[in-house]
């Protein structure tokens, strides 16, 4: 397969970037998108040029490291997969592929296609945890009964890998889907109810402080999320927030 890649190149956070065109040959349908970029980088290195910098780690779709806006969609045209699990068979010979970093004021570009997603870490640190006594008297979580529906919903929310595709897809660069998944996974369990009020207030406050936009309920985040996190989580977070605000 012969392709034309238009890739965002940016030296560092302070310089202006631009799309640069790279022709690439010998791409096979069974390659993952990141393997295709590896081939491109090998060629660039052999020519003495600087390789394209992009984020990756597990390459199994579970770590949330890979990102990339591919032809106008986060993680590319396939559904429920991350960029590392996107295969080149989704493209045709002769295609032009535009590759950009995830765009948001809260996700500043570090270099080329790598963005700083530590804003998500700070939202998580603001309340995405439960306080548990770990001094030797830890109570087994399974001693508290949880109904099946809530356990399943909580688990579904917990599958969010924090990749940032929701922010990248949203026309407002909103982080509501991520934050709501992290709020929901605890809000649905008895262990999470103890700190539920301060959790939702603090996480939403941090989300706003980071400069993410508001939710317009377009649903783009849910469609583009590689883990299929549901919009129901956003509604749940809104309920939690309103209830916590009235209490507090």
């Amino acid at each position: 397969m012969k392709l034309t890649l238009k890739i965002w190149r940016q030296k560092n956070a302070t310089t202006k970037g631009e799309l640069k065109t790279y022709p690439i040959d010998g791409v096979e349908g069974d390659m993952s998108f990141l393997e295709m970029l590896d081939v491109l980088n090998e060629g660039l290195i052999n020519k003495g040029e600087e390789p394209v910098v992009f984020d990756h780690d597990c390459r199994e779709g579970i770590c949330g490291s890979c990102s990339l806006q591919i032809n106008g969609e986060p993680h590319g045209p396939d559904r429920l997969v991350t960029t590392c699990q996107l295969h080149m068979r989704m493209f045709n010979d002769g295609d032009t592929i535009v590759i950009e970093p995830f765009r948001a004021k809260a996700f500043p570009v570090i270099k080329d296609l790598v963005v700083d997603r530590s804003a998500f870490d700070r939202i998580q640190q603001a309340g995405g945890y439960i306080s548990v006594n770990t001094s030797g008297n830890t109570v087994d979580a399974n001693t508290i009964p949880v109904n099946k529906h809530d356990a399943d919903e909580s688990f579904n929310a917990a599958t969010c890998i924090g990749c940032g595709a929701c922010v990248a897809a949203c026309k407002n660069a909103s982080a509501m889907l991520f934050t709501s998944a992290k709020v929901s996974q605890f809000a649905l369990l008895p262990q999470g109810r103890i700190e539920a009020t301060e959790r939702v207030l603090n996480m939403v406050a941090q989300m706003d402080k980071e400069g993410f936009g508001n939710c317009s309920n377009t649903g783009a985040c849910e469609i583009e999320c590689p883990k299929g996190i549901s919009l129901e989580n956003i509604a749940r977070m809104n309920r939690e927030y309103l209830s916590a605000s009235l209490k507090g």
Binding site: Q69, G72, P77, G219, E224, R239, L242, S245
Partner: protein
Amino acid sequence: MAILSSSIARKVAMALSGLFLVFFLAQHFTINITSVIDPDTFNSWSHFMGHNILVQFVLQPVLIFGVVLHFVMGIGLEIKNNNARQISYKSYKGNKNSTWASRNMIISGAVVLAFLGLHFYDFWFPEIVHKYIESNPLDATRYYPELVHKFESPVRTGLYCLAFVLLMLHLWHGFSSSFQSMGWNNKYSKGLRAFTQFYAIFIPLGFIFIALYLHFNQ
């Protein structure tokens, strides 16, 4: 209070003011459709709305507050949202994951707001002048002829119809979206969404029908 500046509280304010305006639209449509069915009923209902103290001095200010709150919050949210992505994508395929109506509420809202300006110029300001500045004697039969007169112009009728199409798109996303903003997303949401989409089509189409009926039945 911190809650008032939070993103979720602002969305809830948008949702509540939007739902109030949706309710008002149904009431406005109910009165307007009588102009097609029975002009005498239209005259008597219009006279009641124009001279009832509760409607004029309590409900009308609440309505104006609702409209102003909705568009001021909407513009504020739009500015914040634009600021959240300062460098745009070179390639962005919004139509792959969302509807045009959901992504362009600011455009449909701005057209509806501009229409409100025209509508006030046509009906509300002349009514205020008639009642409170010129202090004309009461006349419960003047409303229907004034309404028919306004729709003589094909340009005005066309502008009204265009605005109602944009209102349809605004309601198509906004009505159901308001429930999500307030945390309502459950097993009943599918049915509720069907109702909101029916409403989003029925009410603006009804207004278009009234405008065209009055224009072609001069």
